[in-house]
Amino acid sequence: MSFTPLPAHVRTARLVATAVARRSGVAEALLDEVRLAVGEACSRAVEAHQEHCPAEPVRVALTGTNGRFEVVVTDTAVQHNGAADAAVPGGGANGGSGEAGGEPPDAAGEPDRQAVPAELGLAVIEGLADDVEIARTKAGLSIRMSWPSATAAS
């Protein structure tokens, strides 16, 4: 599926992914992880597209093969921006510290993610998914996640 990069659509995307995961035989205990990881991946992609290519849809592939339920979330932010850091919203300006300290924010309009490292979403995905592969391509970032499933789906 693909969707216009709007924050309002992220909820729908993660609900669809969770529903497909359930029908694919992913254990109930893992569905929360699927929901959160897919939400994180879609949020990151939406933010990247909103910054660099708001007219381009975010793509999400949901497949079930060989006893695994796989989700691939792909953005094309770098392709449309040409900047190497476009795949990560905020350009990594706050990246690396992992701390909540530092100067207090001063503007009410400050993006939410500036309070924490931009890579936090990726860290959450890596902490949640059973198997994760994050690939930086010429087009953008591709996040592939998979979980064990009882049956193969679509």
């Binding site: 909820r11 959160l36 939400g39 939410d112 500036q114 924490v116």
Partner: protein
């Protein structure tokens, strides 16, 4: 479920009740409320997350942003959460070391009062 926000004062501490999903779409509303509360002088905050059904890194960012704002005024922001699926996100990100996380609003308030 959408996000529902409410707040009230208890024992001199502003308690923010959050219900629903905190994500990239709804988190700005929580951020605006926290900013509003700080701007009118509430620097001791307890965010009650017992009815939060979903929290992602955008929501974490809003909470960390709120913490930074109140700390700039020597204030505090404590959380109330007993849901394992929400606590897991705090553990993965290491934010359990940043926030005081309590089992109830009363416990959070008592812990804050005892530190004064």
């Amino acid at each position: 479920m959408d996000l529902k926000l409410d707040h009230h004062t208890k024992d001199g501490i502003e308690v923010v009740d959050v219900e629903g999903e905190i994500d990239v779409y709804t988190a700005p509303r929580l951020r605006e409320l926290l900013i509003e509360l700080v701007n009118i002088g509430h620097y001791q905050l307890v965010v009650n997350m017992e009815k939060v059904e979903f929290l992602d890194s955008t929501g974490l960012g809003v909470l960390v942003g709120g913490l930074k704002r109140v700390r700039a005024h020597d204030g505090s922001l404590d959380l109330v959460c007993t849901q394992e699926r929400i606590l897991k996100i705090f553990r993965i990100t290491g934010l359990t070391k940043v926030f005081g996380i309590h089992d109830s609003v009363d416990e959070a308030i008592a812990a804050r009062k005892s530190e004064k």
